[in-house]
């Protein structure tokens, strides 16, 4: 199913059904018609959720049916995930097309989280090299045993200072920060209420904590109020600063008020909003003037700082307790000192160059303008994460493939990552994008969306 045939063609855009007996379509790219074979339609109606449970006592019972399905659907679109980059995650990237074996060069990149373009800055790379000379590649131990270096200590203090909190705790990933914080703090018999669009790491932390878990309708304080009502005992509410699939913000003032009234502690995951929102970049809590009203500030270093890891910032007592009870940190190897050195420099640059945030928001506004002029639907986004709402589960992979071949790297998102008929492309804007790159990327995306009548 993965074979592809090439034939010359007129340059006009040509999308048509394949010959009888084959499932496929032809796509004209740069004067060459590429025959892209398709999986049977029923194959694409299935997804990962169909292979989660299965009958039988063999732990491997699902492997063969999943493998058979995967063989069929992978070339029809799933191959577009986990494509290997052959360059830094800059504004243009070289990406291996695993279907053809070609490396597609210079694609405009809207798929990386590098919101401030810091991961490949020369100063960051230099700091990384210096740390590698001093410390070598890894930390070689748990943070509570031998894995903490002087760099880790300094970086934790710098994060606390940046966030304006008494202390901070560094985790090896954002995932482990959520899991370790939630399961470290909450116990069986307690109540956790999270927004229904909360990240998987929040959900997994809730499961691990064994606390009673509830989810309120996305950004609906009235539903949060209902879910908190009547419960006696320890309560934790968890929201995000920017929701990663929609780019929207929480109604923080109302949520804070409800939490206070119900005696619930409030935790915010600012994975996508720290270092970019707010006057000094602290995050959405600063942006909305409610920084002191939130009890636990969590974030990641893999988004705006372009590195890896996660943190929580808050009171000294909170951090001290979690240092002892966050199993995901306790039992993981500490972040590599090489990564920490790069993060320290990236944080320094983010603090010293507020113009990076200004440029990011200018770029966001410009992209919104470009997409708006083309009448591309972008949902309720208020951030640098802009969903392009395609709402066509059956054809999103076809669109994604064509956008990729036009020269744009952007991720398709479909069920079960988002709801049925809520398929979209998730566009991440960076301060490092030039105007020309934004224009080129928007033009190529719009060209494909028009073919599919997503926009006029």
């Amino acid at each position: 199913m993965s074979e592809r045939t090439k034939e010359t063609s007129a340059t006009a855009v040509d999308i048509e059904s394949a010959a009888p007996g084959t499932e496929g379509r032809r796509v004209d790219v740069d004067g060459t018609t590429e025959m892209i074979e398709q999986a049977r339609p029923e194959a694409l109606e299935y997804d990962y959720t169909n292979f989660y449970f299965g009958a039988g006592d063999d732990a491997f019972a699902l492997l063969e049916p999943f493998d058979d399905w995967w063989e069929e659907v992978q070339p029809a679109g799933y191959y577009l995930y986990e494509l290997p980059l052959h360059s830094a995650p800059g504004t243009r990237v070289d990406v291996k097309d695993t279907k053809t074996g070609d490396i597609r060069r210079g694609l405009v990149n809207f798929a990386s989280y590098n919101y401030l373009g810091l991961s490949y800055r020369p100063e960051v790379k230099e700091a990384i090299k210096e740390a590698a000379d001093t410390y070598g590649g890894g930390s070689s131990g748990s943070p509570i045993l031998s894995g903490t270096t002087a760099l880790h200590r300094r970086f934790a203090r710098e994060i606390a200072d940046f966030k304006g909190k008494e202390d901070a705790l560094i985790f090896p990933t954002g995932y482990s920060a959520n899991v370790g914080t939630i399961a470290g703090l909450m116990r069986s018999g307690d109540l956790i209420v999270a927004d229904q669009y909360a990240h998987a790491s929040i959900v997994d932390g809730m499961i691990l904590s064994k606390a009673k878990s509830r989810f309120f309708r996305h950004n609906r304080p009235d539903d949060l109020e209902r879910k908190l009502s009547g419960f006696e005992g320890k309560k934790l509410v968890i929201i995000e600063g920017v929701y990663s699939m929609d780019g929207d913000l929480p109604p923080l003032a109302e949520i804070v008020e409800i939490c206070r009234r119900h005696g619930a502690r409030l935790m915010i995951d600012e994975a996508h909003s720290a270092f970019v929102f707010g006057e000094t970049g602290k995050g959405v809590t600063e942006h909305l003037g409610l920084d002191e009203e939130v009890d636990i500030h969590l974030g990641t270093f893999s988004k705006s700082l372009g590195g890896q890891g996660g943190y929580i910032a808050g009171s000294r007592r909170l951090v001290n307790y979690l240092r002892g009870f966050s199993r995901s940190r306790f039992f993981s190897c500490a972040l590599s000192p090489v990564i920490v050195a790069g993060l320290r420099k990236a944080l320094e640059l983010a603090r010293e160059e507020p113009e990076l945030r200004e440029r990011l928001w200018e770029n966001v506004a410009y992209m919104r303008q470009l997409l708006g002029e083309a009448e591309v639907p972008t949902g309720d986004s208020e951030s640098q994460v802009i969903p392009i709402m395609v709402r066509d589960d059956a054809r999103i992979f076809s669109m994604a493939e064509e956008i990729f071949r036009e020269g744009v790297f952007i991720n398709p998102v479909k069920y079960p990552a988002v709801g049925k008929h809520k398929s979209r492309f998730r566009m991440s804007i960076s301060a490092a994008h030039s105007r020309e790159e934004l224009e080129e990327g928007a033009e190529k995306i719009v060209k494909v969306l028009r073919r599919y009548e997503i926009c006029p």
């Binding site: 029923e42 109606e45 449970f53 299965g54 959900v203 878990s213």
Partner: protein
């Protein structure tokens, strides 16, 4: 697997609501696990069909099920979803006698009346038992397509574990816009089946038109 029964329908609806997993587990036999849509929340399916041709003629049917994983074989023969019906009701005594004997669906003994009120933007289903309201369900359409769904139904006959494969074909729309609504009224049929809150809004709305529902022979599992 031989076909046992085929029913032609004018309209069919399956609305998915999240329900407490503890309630779902209480309704399921030991060998079935509920699917969880989020941690500790499983899926309640409320199904209503207006059959316009069957062995007993036209009739309406209401069914409450817990959504469970289908049993996987080769993926190509794999059902999209599995259901364990724990409560059903029909407008036809003969229909529930036949389906009860063939498929062991847990039918309520008294007949119901169901109204299917369709407008362009909404389908409203009102169900009554002896004149008293039981349920008021509304669903809305997304994009329509013609499709066939392969599903699995799980039943119990005493201690015997049973499964049927059913195929639903017809015009179909599904979405997760949370535009529908359900109101359950206090009634003998619905009382006591759920101890905890069920969301009044379906998180997924399936709507079929002008199709067939085909049941295959029961298998013991």
């Amino acid at each position: 697997m031989p076909i046992v029964s085929s029913y032609r329908f004018h309209t069919g609806v399956s609305a998915f609501f999240d329900m407490a997993t503890s309630d779902a587990r209480a309704l399921l036999p030991e060998h079935l696990e509920p699917i969880e849509v989020t941690h500790q929340r499983s899926v309640l399916s409320v199904t209503a069909f207006l059959f316009d041709d069957s062995v007993v003629g036209p009739y309406t049917e209401l069914m409450f099920s817990v959504v469970v994983p289908p049993m996987v074989a080769q993926w190509g023969k794999h059902a999209k979803a599995g259901f364990f019906p724990f409560l059903a009701a029909t407008s036809s005594e003969e229909a529930r006698r036949i389906k009860g004997e063939r498929f062991h669906f847990p039918y309520h003994e008294e007949s119901i009346d169901a109204q299917f009120i369709e407008t362009d933007a909404r389908l409203r289903i009102r169900v009554f038992g002896a004149g008293d309201p039981i349920l008021d369900l509304s669903v809305t359409p997304g994009a329509w397509e013609t499709t066939t769904h392969l599903l699995q139904g799980f039943m119990m006959n005493g201690e015997e574990r049973l499964r049927t494969t059913l195929q639903i074909s017809g015009d179909y729309t599904v979405h997760e816009e949370e535009a529908g609504e359900m109101m359950l009224f206090p009634h003998q049929i619905t009382s006591g089946i759920l101890t905890q809150e069920v969301s009044p809004q379906p998180f997924r709305e399936h709507w079929f038109k002008n199709g067939t529902e085909v049941f295959h022979q029961l298998e013991t599992i």
